[in-house]
Symmetry: C2
Subunit: 258 residues, 2 copies
């Protein structure tokens, strides 16, 4: 931010001194710098001057600081977690369906390519369970289990993590009730049939057919959701339904990592 020329002499002197220190400590295990107050006293300058120098070094990416933690050499480490709440907040329900329609057919294709006989057996069992369940909760549970099993059979643990990421956003309680409104006996019957078709394609190792069947299934689910969202909600007994709307998505605010 601040051009070098505008820095006071003391800060510039500190900068040179610090660069030398960083160079020397680059191969050391001591990646932590002394506290600002101590470091300022060591160099023999004031804290404001030191902070101006550190500001430059941080902008250059040579160090990183955090209140309460300290000052460290090297690039800022990426956070070891992904905040699901943040992701959920930014994501529109239709975006979830779009993402599923891109990811899950691909997983079905991979599953068809890599499924063992035991895998197929498991998928068939799950598909049957989906059909046998009578209460809505049970069906939803087995449905979810089937989709995840396909993702597992695909045999790529990173893509499985991707599936879980999408799935967790999908199971956010705010959208849970949105799906409940889309449920119906007729639609459930069709779901069961579509599931059977996907599993059958995987069982016969027909990758393209599995991908197509899954895409068709999700397309149907998507249409159901769209219809619910388009129709004027008659049963407006839920004040929280406003929160499910969030219609806008400014690209400038699409930021997850550093």
């Amino acid at each position: 931010m601040a051009p070098l020329d505008t820095l006071p002499d003391s800060s510039n002197a500190a900068l040179e001194r610090l660069r030398a220190l960083l160079e020397a400590a680059s191969s050391q295990k001591e990646q932590r710098l002394p506290p600002e107050r101590v470091l300022a006293a060591q160099i023999g300058i004031g804290r404001p001057a030191l902070r101006r120098a550190l500001e430059v070094l941080e902008a250059e990416g040579r160090i990183w600081r955090h209140q309460g933690k300290g000052t460290f050499i090297g690039p800022r480490p990426s956070e070891p977690h992904i905040d699901m709440e943040e992701v959920s907040k930014r994501t529109h329900p239709l975006e979830v369906m779009d993402a599923r329609m891109e990811i899950e057919p691909m997983l079905a294709r991979l599953a068809a390519l890599r499924a063992s006989n035991g895998d197929v057996e498991r998928l068939v069992r799950l598909a049957n369970k989906t059909a046998e369940s009578f209460d809505a909760d049970g069906r939803e549970l087995w449905d979810s289990a089937l989709h995840r099993a396909i993702a597992e059979v695909a045999g790529n643990s990173l893509l499985l993590a991707v599936f879980d990421l999408i799935n967790r956003v999908r199971q956010d309680r705010t959208w849970q009730q949105l799906r409940e409104r889309a449920r119906s006996e007729e639609r459930q019957r069709i779901y069961v049939e579509q599931h059977r078709r996907v599993v059958a394609a995987v069982a016969q190792r027909e990758a393209a057919a599995a991908e197509g069947a899954m895409r068709e299934h999700l397309s149907f689910v998507r249409d159901g959701l769209l219809r619910i969202m388009t129709h004027s909600q008659v049963g407006g007994d839920d004040p929280h339904s406003v929160e499910t709307t969030m219609p806008f998505n400014d690209k400038k605010e699409l930021q997850h990592g550093t």
Copy 2:
């Protein structure tokens, strides 16, 4: 686990008592149950008997417990975070490339469909930056920025989160050095050209071409990585290289969510 018939009488009595309690408190805001010791005293039974009953209820999914936290009514809440370290640990480098080859071409296709003129301008600028950079670190940085920009232009915030998930695993320090070994002037020249082709396809809104160009690019990257991993590593000065191998992936251990 334990069949109901094998439970002692006291536990069965506690079970009935607890079911009634759960039924009554289902609509209350008090989702937390008293500590086991207190609850046992209230009901008038011993803690072992109470715990057997709670074990059943937990297996049924009506309550969930955690050491140090307490016992709560309802389904176990999903963790609000994804542990990147866990994901990294389970994932083989080639799985990362496979995942990228599935995801990023799709993002390039979506980007071609949804790019604004401003978006295209930005992508062109980034592609040029990649070509202009001379030091290896700078190139890697701009390369990463270009790939992410494409993911942003795709316009689906959930798929952007998916991209970030994969990207963070990719940037794990263990594999960083793997990529460093694959670098070469010749390959970098080709990368630049492939990037240009992807951006050009997006600029002309040719979705299929963009997808194809990105797939070709990643296929090239993947081959480079594969060659490095296949060749006997001459410079075996890194004892940690063993950790990058992890060749096996037992499907039984593929579990992320509940």
